[in-house]
Each structure stands twice: as C-alpha cells, then as structure tokens.
C-alpha cells in the first residue's frame, strides 16, 4: 500500500515543514518513506512544494509525476498540480486563498478554509497544520496521534505554540475525515 502526496504553496506557508512531519511520523510507524523538496522545473514561479511517499515496501521513485494526492495552499499551486492528480485521487485546496473551484471531476475534491480556521483559533500561522490534518483525516496515511507526537517534538523549543498547532491539526482532521479516501496499491 502506498500514499504519495505533493504539497504546494507559497514559500513561508510551512509546506516543506508539514511534509517533513508527515514523513517523519510515517517512519516512526515503521513505514518506508521519502521526502523530496521542490527540485527541478517545478521550482519555478515562487512556489514551494515537496513530494512525500509513504509505503509498506521500499520506496521506488521519489519523483512522482501523478500523485495520489495534492495539497494546494495557493492558486498557482492549484493551477500547476491540479492536472497531475491521479484519477480517483484526492485534491485538497485552501479555499481561504483560492477563489476558484477545481475543475477536475474524476478526483475527490476537499475544500479547506485553512487560513480562516487558523485565524479563528488565534493561530494565523497554523494554516499549514489545518491542511496537514485534513490530509490525514481523508487518507489516514499515518495516524494523527503519531503526527501529534511529532508536533510536540518539532516545537519543543517553543512550547507556547504546541497546543494551538495540535488544535489546528485536529480541526483539519475533522474536515478531512468527512471525505475518507483509500490509499492505492504501491
């Protein structure tokens, strides 16, 4: 079984960070994982993205052209990666910053107002955690408890932000869980 996802957004939105947390939690669960930052022609246009693969068996290509899931945190990311989502896959988009509906009909689309939720929690920087939570809720790629543990470790130096981030993660998870999508075969 394999989950793979391209997460994309503006630099500074914490995209690479949530990708790393996802990969790290996967590794903790004994899965095979890889994390590949924006590298190659996709890097152009000021967007940051990373590809995370979580699998039961050794990861083959860490480069994924047709991912099973895309998390788009801004409009350029949606424009760029919407066509690449594998048919039957998952397209999760940040409706707070993206003012159009995705056009794809053959994938599961989840609308996540990530910035609005983060702001309402008094944690404007937590939109990335909302998105990660939503991805986890929809795919169960790794358990949310494992990710919570990673959050605690990641922010160990800044204990004040741990709980707000966990809250953001859980709120996202609730949204995602309403649209569960299965993982594909590796």
């Amino acid at each position: 079984m394999q989950n793979d996802v391209i997460m994309a957004g503006f630099g500074g939105q914490g995209i690479l960070l949530i990708g790393k947390m996802l990969a790290y939690a996967g590794m903790r669960e004994g899965k095979e994982v890889s994390w590949l930052p924006s590298y190659g022609p996709e890097m152009r246009g000021g967007t940051a993205n990373c590809t995370v693969v979580i699998s039961d068996r050794p990861v083959g290509s860490p480069v994924i052209r047709s991912p099973r899931a895309v998390v788009a945190m801004n409009l350029p990311s949606l424009d760029k990666f919407e066509p690449d989502v594998r048919p039957g896959g998952l397209l999760l988009y940040n409706s707070s910053l993206i003012d159009r509906r995705p056009a794809r009909q053959d994938v599961t689309v989840i609308e996540v107002p990530a910035n609005e939720i983060a702001n309402s929690l008094g944690n404007p920087r937590g939109a990335n955690m909302v998105a990660l939570g939503a991805y986890l809720g929809a795919t169960e790629a790794v358990s949310i408890d494992g990710v919570v543990e990673v959050v605690r470790e990641t922010f160990a130096a800044k204990p004040g932000v741990i709980e707000v981030n966990i809250t953001a993660l859980r709120r996202g998870h609730e949204i995602g869980a309403a649209h569960t999508v299965g993982a594909g075969e590796a």
Partner: protein
C-alpha cells in the same frame, strides 16, 4: 541506533563523521551546500575541523595535506567545482593519498544549471585529470545507501591508498529518507596503520615524503605499474552492482545507476503489475564497472535499455560489456529534466511494439 530521517546531504556528512572523518575542507557550490553546512555544525561537536577554503582548488589541496598527515578527510562539491579539483585529484592519486570526494552532479557543461544530472560519468570514470590514474567511483541510489557508501569509501580509500569518489545527483542530496547508522561498524577491509604518513621524523621509521614527482623515468614507470596493479585489484575485488527483477524471465534489461535506477525500479514494478517483466542491473561501482554482470544479465534478454541523465555516457561501458551482442536502446533527459517512471514504461512498451529504434553503433 534508531532510524533518523535525513537529507542525503546530511546523511553523507554524518556518515563521514561516524567513519572517523574529523576534517572537512570545502567551498560552497549548489546543490551540495548542505554537506559543508552540516559539517561546519557537526565537526566541532566531535573535536573536528571544518575549513571553508578560498576555492575548490585550495580545498582539494588542503585535502592533500590532511591526508598526507594520515587523517581521514573529505570534501564535497558539484560538477564545476570538481573540475577545479581535478588537478589536485591527479596529485592525490599520484601520491597515493586516501581521501573521499563527493560529487553531487549538476547539469552542464559550463555553469549549466543546478538541477540533477549524470553528465560527469566520463569525468568520474575515465578522464578526471592528467596522467594515468583511476578513482573508485560509488553511485548510491538512496539516502541510506549514500550513507553506507560514504563509510565504505573511507575504508576503500585507506585500503587502496587512493581517492574514492561518491557520485550522486541533486536528488540524492536533497531527498529525505530514513537512515540507520550501524553502531560499532567494522571496516570492510583489513586496514593497516598509516606508517607512510608525514607526521614528523624521529628516526624510528624511514623519512616520509608525500610526493608524486618521479624524475627517473624508470622509477616513474615502476610507480605507474604499481598503480596499475592497484587498479587491477579494484577491478577484480570491488565490483558492486544490484540486480532487480532478474528472478523472472524478461525481454528487456535496463541498465541505470543512481536515482535514475530508482525511477526505473518503479517503472519495472508498474510493468510487472500488467504482466510485462523487465530486469535491471544497477551498477553501484561505476569504476570498476560491472561488465560481467551486465553481460550475463543481457544474455537472457533480447534487448537492453540504458537510462541516463546524460547524452549516453554510460552506453560506452554497456557496449563494452555486450560486445555488440544485443541491440541497445536509450532513454534520457538532460539539463536538469528528470526521467519519470511513466517515460520508462512508455519506452519499454515502444521497444515491445517496434516503435523504438536502437542506438546506432558507430
């Protein structure tokens, strides 16, 4: 030791530290800056030394001094920087100094671009610099293997008293994967004390002179013969490769190395799911090249596909292995563009239905 999630660059640095390398000299160049950055942070923690040199030229000569002092030492760079180091690498080989050099290849020629490439295959395996010498060249395909090969590289360098090159690309350097460092790792070769090192002369041993200059042509020829014997031993004892999917019958054999082989493995798995079986031989050592393994695996196939991020530099070695016995097809991207699993699948299908033409032999 528990698994850690590390970037390839960090894993390479940590592997070196754990292999007892406490000296690093380097000069910044993308896409490998994480290696010197990691070493500048890590080496002081173990009482080691990191120096940012004024140039790759200087860095590689600092290696010469440190290695000649009997210490384990490493540098890393990327293609244009390695070209600048080539002079010193010839001297290191001539003076028989053990060092580890990491080349995270970028696309060229010239300044080219910072994206992944395999365009330095010839440089690494055939023509690094002036004079008759060879480097052991190790090409990892995963972060874990990069760490393992770096550690092996130090043992091999010490054993052969020869520079060892670890050849990766930007993907290997930037990618994060879990890595496990074996505790209490034993050297893979029986290593002797470095009595040849120039560490001061108190009369207890012959004077040590680290040198590649031989004025007497007969003495130089003897030295060349000695080096050749060393390279012959490498060819005999150090060939490494990995077989993939050779346990079933296959029509096409892929030859690819490094991250490209990773991509091919995914394509092979996808094709297997649809009943098409493809085999692969992945050279882990590029010098010595696994000629015999390629020849034997190709004997069971009707054609061979070479996949590379270059104009086809490795094809020359594959042709040597096959001696024109099988048609060779070629799939590549260059300039930093990557080969995707889909492209490999398409190519294999094209070979099956006759849409792919073989590489024309000169």
């Amino acid at each position: 030791m528990a698994k850690k999630l590390m970037k390839g660059s960090e894993a390479i640095g940590e592997a070196a530290v754990q292999a007892g390398c406490h000296l690093f000299f380097g000069y910044p160049i993308t896409p490998q800056n994480e290696i010197p950055e990691y070493m500048s942070m890590r080496l002081p923690q173990v009482g080691g030394t990191f120096v940012q040199a004024e140039s790759e030229v200087a860095a590689s000569n600092m290696l010469y001094g440190a290695a000649g002092s009997g210490e384990r030492v490493m540098t890393s760079s990327s293609s244009p920087g390695v070209s600048l180091m080539a002079e010193a690498i010839s001297y290191l080989a001539g003076a028989e100094l053990p060092v580890v050099i990491v080349n995270i290849m970028r696309a060229g020629p010239g300044l080219g671009g910072i994206l992944p490439s395999q365009g330095d295959y010839f440089q690494a395996t055939k023509g690094m610099a002036h004079g008759d010498f060879r480097l052991l060249v190790l090409a990892p395909w995963s972060v874990q293997e990069a760490a393992d090969l770096v550690q092996d590289a130090f043992d091999l360098a010490d054993y052969y008293r020869n520079p060892v090159l670890v050849l990766g690309d930007g993907l290997i350097g930037q990618m994060m994967e879990p890595v496990e460092f074996r505790e209490g790792r034993l050297p893979i070769k029986p290593l002797e004390a470095k009595t040849w090192a120039a560490t001061g002369n108190d009369g207890s041993k012959p004077r040590s002179v680290i040198n590649s200059l031989f004025l007497d042509p007969e003495a130089l020829e003897r030295h060349n013969v000695h080096l050749k014997e060393k390279y012959d031993r490498m060819v005999r004892d150090e060939v490494r490769f990995q077989s993939y999917g050779l346990d079933r019958d296959y029509d096409v054999l892929i030859v690819a190395y490094g991250t490209v082989a990773r991509v091919c493995s995914t394509a092979i798995d996808e094709l297997a799911a649809s009943g098409v079986h493809v085999g692969m031989v992945r050279p882990v050592t590029l010098f010595p090249f696994p000629y015999q393994a390629v020849r034997e695996a190709a004997a069971r196939a009707s054609s061979v596909l070479v996949v590379e991020l270059s104009t086809g530099q490795m094809i020359e070695d594959v042709r040597l292995a096959l001696a024109n016995s099988k048609p060779i097809h070629f799939l590549n991207r260059m300039g930093g563009m990557l080969v995707s699993p889909d492209a490999v699948v398409d190519k294999i299908r094209a070979m099956a239905d006759g849409r792919s033409t073989e590489v024309v032999h000169a």
